[in-house]
């Protein structure tokens, strides 16, 4: 019989607060994380909504040259690992780091103002931050930085789970960090036509599952946890059990997800098979839910492929209405939110979904949180380019 594997402890930096207590309160109370862009001057951009990482209600400051995701990774790691009892039980050689990340930061302002620039000088180095935390917290085992766009952190957590299940003596620092809130990366998402062009209150710019959804809001942050087995986990630090993982590729189109959701469903079914459970054992689903016109229909079709006629009855949720799209870190922060909802036994209303798109046929929780018996949560993420990933979490009992 395979050893049980857990998510143990949390380190989080997010647009609704940093540190577990702030994040927990933000998620449970539906505090909006999206506002006017402030970390760089975006006042002349076509759209300037952003979900910027905050601590104590204030945007975490940085200058143009700073790679924000590296700051967030280090903040989250220190919250997670300082005083982590389960981590200390594992020798340094058994400590690995499997982390998600994003495209390197680029200091466009510095590069532009340099009369004789070498572009390499202005490029960030996320790996340096990863190496720094590995050194600080004694990771002498293997390291991997997954940059599979919006599924990077989800895949990182999945790989960590599989390795710990195979070798229960390991402890793996996992999750991810990302920030695309810089002029160059903002431009890139604008070019992809992905950004919400909502003209009203920026807090309402991202509307997952809503009939009026109109695109993503870029978010930023970091979510980290230690993936370890029952052999080394400290019970008081266990957030949730992780029981299954799957990943797949659409192999469909460069620009769009497969509208049928065929491979997205398949990776979810692989995660269920990995866990040895059936679709009817899943109580709710935390979807990718970007708030774009094309994502949600693909996910709705995937839901029907996974659950059949029950798809319309399974409660679904997306955190992105609240924190925006954290890209390479979204799977990490959303997995922590899924684990929180599992602990609290609640499916929360998706922030900014006020008029669910009836064509989706999904059960989006509205108004009040839905309190129910939740044993298994399915977490799905999908990436531009067609990568999909699924994690299955089980209530710790």
């Amino acid at each position: 019989m395979s050893p049980r594997v857990f998510l143990c402890g949390t380190g989080v930096v997010s647009p609704i607060g940093s540190g577990w207590d702030e994040f927990r309160q933000g998620v449970m109370e539906g505090i909006p994380g999206s506002a006017d862009l402030s970390v760089f001057d975006g006042s002349r951009l076509p759209v300037h909504h952003a979900a910027e990482a905050r601590r104590g209600g204030k945007v975490i400051p940085s200058d143009d040259a700073t790679d924000r995701k590296s700051i967030f990774l280090e903040m989250a790691a220190r919250e997670l690992l300082s005083g982590h009892s389960g981590w200390r039980k594992v020798p340094s050689s058994g400590r690995w780091a499997i982390l998600g990340g994003g495209i390197e930061h680029f200091d466009l302002a510095g590069y532009t103002g340099d009369p004789d620039p070498d572009w390499r000088v202005y490029q960030g180095r996320y790996r340096i931050a990863v190496d720094r935390i590995c050194q600080e917290f004694g990771v002498l085992g293997l390291r991997s930085v997954n940059v599979s766009a919006c599924v990077g952190a989800t895949q990182a957590l999945g790989a960590a789970f599989r390795h710990v299940r195979a070798d229960p003596g390991l402890a793996v620092l996992s999750g991810g960090a990302d920030s695309m809130l810089s002029p160059l990366h903002y431009m890139g998402f604008h070019h992809l036509g992905a950004l919400s062009e909502w003209k009203g209150d920026p807090a309402r710019a991202c509307k997952p599952f809503d009939a009026d959804r109109c695109g993503i809001v870029l978010g930023e942050g970091s979510g980290l946890t230690v993936v370890q087995s029952e052999r080394t986990a400290e019970p008081s630090e266990i957030l949730a059990e992780i029981v299954g993982y799957g990943s797949s590729l659409d192999a469909h189109m460069v620009t769009d997800p497969d509208p049928e959701g065929t491979q997205l469903a398949r990776c979810a079914l692989d995660a269920l098979e990995d866990a040895g459970i059936r679709p009817e054992d899943v109580d709710c689903v935390h979807l990718h839910g970007t708030g774009t016109p094309k994502n949600e229909p693909a996910e709705a079709n995937a839901m029907r492929r996974i659950f059949g006629a029950r798809a319309k009855d399974v409660p679904v949720y997306s955190l992105k209405g609240q924190v925006g799209h954290l890209v390479g870190a979204c799977g990490a922060v959303e997995t922590l939110a899924a684990a929180l909802c599992l602990r609290e036994q609640v499916v929360l209303p998706t922030v900014n979904c006020q008029r669910p798109d009836p064509s989706l046929g999904l059960r989006v929780v509205m108004g009040e949180p839905l309190r129910m018996d939740i044993r298994h949560v399915l977490k799905l993420n999908a990436a531009f380019g067609g990568q999909n990933a699924a994690l299955l979490l089980r209530r710790w009992e």
Binding site: W119, Q123, S148, Q155, H191, S248, A251, Q387
Partner: protein, 200 residues
């Protein structure tokens, strides 16, 4: 028994992408990293069919950022004093490069474009860094058969090296550290000179 293929192209040397592209209209999404990845995998497989669910894992070194219009953005985002202007960037700089550039910047495009061309829908990952990180992801697979493992190095001189290997999980040695291109080459005993093709 694992097999591997190594390809290398110099800075100005064409990569014969269109020989391996079923949907030629998609050529516009490819940069040299993605083109190299597709060509090395296609040559590795050499017409041999693999199961659609064959996993594919890819590692990338640092990005050739200088090829993606940075100089143009810089030129169109400076004020009269030659320093950064957020206004000029918004009005001119960000429009000075093609939207297609974004597809070339994304790290996951070599893997995703190869999956679309070859019909691969299985487990996957893209890792940054030419080290053991790729093997960590691949070794987490539950797939019992051969997987496609690849890596791309973009050299500072503009040249590009690509390796692709077919290997089973039990052929991966996680205790081995070093350059992933060398590790993959050694998996299949690929001889770089023997497998290199130059297409003018």
């Amino acid at each position: 028994m694992a097999t591997a293929r190594f390809e290398s192209w110099q800075a100005q040397e064409p990569i014969p992408l269109k020989e391996y592209l079923r949907q030629r209209k998609w050529a516009k999404y490819y940069d040299r990293r993605s083109a190299g990845a597709l060509v090395v995998v296609a040559r590795l497989l050499d017409g041999r069919a693999v199961e659609a669910r064959t996993p594919i894992h890819w590692a990338l070194g640092d990005l050739e950022f200088q090829d993606y219009g940075l100089e143009s953005i810089r030129e169109h985002s400076r004020d009269s004093r030659g320093i950064w202007s957020a206004e000029r960037f918004a009005l001119e700089g960000m429009h000075s490069v093609s939207p297609l550039t974004q597809f070339k910047v994304l790290y996951n495009m070599p893997l995703c474009l190869a999956s679309m061309e070859l019909g691969l829908v299985g487990e996957n990952s893209v890792t940054h860094g030419l080290d053991e990180g790729l093997l960590v992801c691949a070794a987490a697979s539950r797939w019992e058969g051969e997987m496609i493992l690849g890596a791309t190095r973009c050299r500072a001189d503009g040249g590009i090296d690509c390796v692709a290997a077919l290997a089973r999980r039990d052929e991966l040695d996680l205790s081995r550290r070093g350059d992933i291109l060398e590790i993959l080459r050694s998996l299949g005993g690929a001889d770089p000179e023997a497998s290199r093709e130059v297409v003018p």
